[in-house]
């Protein structure tokens, strides 16, 4: 019988304690993702951070809604934290909640959490333990302009009750800003800011650390309802320079590098160990018109501008053909509201010149306020556009600006500017009405308005007659893109992510990066 020394005896309990831990060692990989920007507002609260970069960092990883999207397909609505939903009336939608969903703090999600998520204390402002930043209720009201209340019909059943008839309730439930939070998690946070920097939600990963403007570290939420997350840790690091992101990827420091410009794709893929994924997303690039400009007040000049643009040339030259010219301000995921026979104005220089002659345009300068590559390829696109307009006889002059405040500045006359529009949910209300309607950005900044368009915005928002909605949508596109152009669509936007080729992962047709079970290492 071997002799046991006193030292061995003392060490035995420690070894015994360590053994199970060793047996359960977490062998899952950790990854680092280089991004240009982690979040814009230094918070992770979806009601504050309504940005594309925010969507990438936290959608599917941290935040989940009742109705989700098929991130690996074409973004169709799929069950999320709700397993089923049905229309009770044109104002009411009822949802069955998924049972057994655990928040990051271990609590089970129930109807009480859903009701609280959409309640005044967290969304719209009202008596509560925390002082909401003033912009939160305004953003919440844009997402839910007519929501009366959400009520629990049982422990796992809720009803969304709208103040007016609305066929887009399901869409609004699926959009960014309608994700579910833990009531206890919210109430226990010391302040709104503490909450916003580490929200307690249901996602596959939970916040370990947010270092403003530096990094966001997420760790696996092992009680995730969709299965054990495939990654132990995800770290988003802010690397503002493209070349630094690519170099970091090639040197093995990062496993993913986001926001790769189209002209760098070939350079990355020259190394066979790496590939670039991604493509078109739910976002279109536009040129917006300022209708009150003395020259642009004549719709024929704006129409001439829409006909002067060879959009396919831009897509081929600046995007290496890796995006498309869409059918106006709409996306196929609108489903039966998508107008497949619609198109952007044709490239027709003769027509553009004819319209300018009719409008008696004499070469008066039209200012083009431009940000320096706020959007991918923005500055080269602007230079191409100016030359295309010049070919039609238009005198458009670029004025470089530093920020959006200077773009909208009223102290001198405006002309054209750039913009991009997304579709937060699968209905034209989410883009055409929300961005260009009476309460939309373009009309709010005094760029454009049209009485008939505004009346139709109300119809599209409240009508429940499908055929009438399709007719209304078509007429609105006719007004905003052809008759009295508010904007013209240039191309669909695209985002590209470089990664190691041996990592099995599929990019979503969106900014969101899906690292849930089934999409990483599968």
């Amino acid at each position: 019988m071997p002799m046991l020394s006193r030292r061995t005896m003392l060490a035995t309990p420690a070894i015994a304690l360590a053994t199970p831990a060793f047996a359960q060692a977490d062998n899952r990989p950790s990854i680092t993702i280089a991004v240009q920007k982690v979040v814009n507002t230094n918070t992770l609260e979806v009601l504050r951070e309504q940005s594309n970069v925010g969507e990438r960092a936290f959608k599917t990883s941290i935040w989940e809604g009742l109705i989700d999207r098929d991130w690996r397909g074409q973004l169709q609505a799929v069950p999320g934290l709700a397993t089923a939903w049905r229309r009770i009336s044109d104002r009411v939608v009822e949802l069955d909640l998924r049972e057994g969903v655990r928040f990051h703090n271990g609590d089970e999600m129930t109807a009480e959490d859903v009701v609280f998520t959409f309640g005044p204390e967290r969304m719209f402002g009202g008596a509560g333990t925390k002082e909401l930043p003033p912009e939160i209720p305004a953003i919440a009201r844009r997402i839910w302009p007519s929501l009366e209340k959400v009520e629990a019909v049982g422990r796992y059943k809720v009803r969304f009750i709208n103040g007016t008839p609305d066929v887009t309730i399901e869409g609004r439930i699926s959009r960014l800003g309608s994700e579910i939070i833990s009531r206890r998690g919210y109430e226990q946070a010391a302040s709104w800011l503490d909450w916003a920097r580490a929200p307690v939600t249901t996602g596959a990963y939970k916040v370990a650390e947010l270092r403003p403007d530096v990094s966001l570290t997420l760790v696996a939420h092992d009680q995730y309802w969709g299965g054990r997350p495939p990654l132990k840790q995800i770290r988003f690091v802010e690397v503002p320079e493209v070349s630094s992101r690519i170099n970091g990827l090639l040197s093995g420091q990062y496993q993913f590098a986001c926001d790769i410009p189209p002209d760098q794709i070939a350079a990355v893929e020259r190394n066979r160990a790496f590939e670039v994924q991604g493509g078109t997303i739910l976002n279109h690039r536009l040129t917006c018109f300022y209708k009150n400009h003395p020259v642009l007040a004549d719709a024929r000049v704006r129409r001439a501008m829409t006909h002067s643009i060879d959009r396919n040339a831009i897509v081929e030259a600046l995007w290496a053909g890796r995006t498309v010219v869409p059918k106006g301000l709409q996306w196929e995921y609108y489903g039966d509201m998508f107008l497949s026979d619609w198109s952007v104005p044709a490239f027709d220089l003769a027509e553009a010149r004819r319209l300018l002659r009719e409008a008696n345009y004499r070469g008066e300068p039209i200012p083009y306020r431009l940000l320096n590559n706020y959007y991918t390829n923005q500055t080269p696109t602007a230079q191409v556009l100016v030359e295309m307009w010049r070919a039609a006889g238009l005198n458009v002059q670029i004025e470089m600006k530093e920020n959006w405040s200077q773009i909208f500045d009223n102290s001198s006359v405006r002309g054209v500017r750039d913009w991009s529009n997304s579709a937060p949910f699968n209905d034209p209300v989410s883009s055409l009405v929300n961005q260009h309607g009476p309460a939309g950005e373009q009309q709010q900044v005094g760029e454009w308005t049209n009485a008939e368009f505004n009346t139709l915005s109300g119809v599209l928002t409240t009508s429940t007659d499908h055929e009438q909605r399709r007719r209304t949508f078509r007429r609105m596109l006719e007004i905003a893109e052809r008759e009295d152009p508010a904007y013209t669509v240039l191309h669909q936007n695209a985002t590209f992510t470089a990664k190691r080729r041996d990592i099995a992962w599929k990019a979503a047709p969106a900014f969101a990066m899906d690292f849930r079970p089934g999409n990483y290492g599968a």
Partner: protein
């Protein structure tokens, strides 16, 4: 001496006041922080609410007086992006920046001064020409080009060092070298010029003629007299310890004061920008003040006000 100090302090105070005022006016007139921080797609009501909450709807004068008043009470304001105290945000970035700039300063001094002296002592030799060639190259290559070049060689091709970030001491090597080489080149050129000028002076010839060993002529007569222009440059380098790494921090994703300032300026996050500017101005002013004092120590003529003649 007291009058000298009081004069310098008054000048420093006026400098700080002008910097704060200039930055306030330029930043506020060139963009609305509410619109910039909330983004182009933010609801009009949200932007208006934000503006009201941060007092941006008041007149520029009211905002300015309020800001200056709060500085005098020690309140440097809060970041409009996330509500955190600006001073705390800046303070937490200072160690990261100093972790680059202090080693880089030693690198500049350790490489630049000996190289400059050596080149001057071997004027027109092959070594002098090589040193000056390297110095001109180091001086003229922009830091972002040099940084990317170093990353390409040492991170991407050789895989010896990380390309960016701040996780370990190894992450600091390339940014420190990038910062150090440019500064060392500047110092080498200035030191060489100053030494050459001094070495041509009659008192150097006199010392040599008296039989003083050459080593002592250089260390006891030439180097101290050549120190004044070099100390001026070193003073500038001290002054830029806080804000001298803006480009390098961006290239190497190093989360220091420089990157904080870039983000804060882009967002017109006034309190944070002002806080950084105050710190940078204070460092510059303090460095210049110290250099002025050092002049007096190095050159007795400046201390006593006496004018020397040659």
């Amino acid at each position: 001496m007291a009058r000298f100090l009081a004069g310098r302090l008054l000048r420093a105070f006026i400098t700080l006041f002008l910097v704060v005022t200039f930055a306030f006016v330029v930043l506020r007139l060139s963009g609305d922080p509410a619109q910039i921080i909330m983004g182009a797609d933010a609801p009009h009501e949200a932007v208006a609410a934000f503006r009201q909450a941060w007092g941006l709807d008041k007149s520029l004068w009211e905002q300015y007086l309020g800001y200056v008043g709060s500085i005098f009470t020690g309140d440097l304001g809060r970041s409009m992006r996330d509500g955190r105290p600006a001073a705390a945000l800046v303070a937490e970035r200072i160690p990261a920046t100093l972790a680059l700039t202090i080693p880089a300063l030693f690198l500049k001094l350790g490489l630049g001064i000996p190289a400059g002296i050596y080149a001057a002592l071997h004027r027109n030799s092959a070594i002098d020409r090589v040193v000056m060639l390297v110095a001109v190259a180091g001086f003229t290559i922009p830091s972002f080009v040099l940084g990317l070049l170093l990353v390409l060689v040492f991170a991407v091709q050789l895989g010896w060092l990380p390309s960016g970030g701040q996780e370990s001491w190894r992450h600091a090597i390339l940014p420190v070298i990038t910062l150090g080489i440019g500064g060392a080149a500047v110092l080498a050129r200035f030191t060489r010029s100053a030494m050459l000028e001094v070495l041509g002076q009659p008192y150097i010839r006199t010392a040599s003629a008296k039989g003083v060993p050459w080593r002592r002529v250089v260390s006891g007569h030439a180097a101290p007299n050549a120190a004044i222009p070099t100390v001026t440059i070193i003073g500038f380098m001290f002054g830029s310890l806080i804000a001298g790494a803006v480009v390098v921090e961006s290239v190497f994703s190093w989360p220091g004061v420089g990157r904080l300032m870039v983000v804060a300026v882009a967002n017109r996050d006034l309190a944070v920008v002002q806080c950084v500017l105050l710190l940078v101005s204070f460092t510059m002013v303090a460095a210049n003040f110290t250099v002025d004092l050092l002049y007096g120590l190095i050159d007795p003529r400046l201390r006593t006000g006496a004018q020397g003649g040659h």
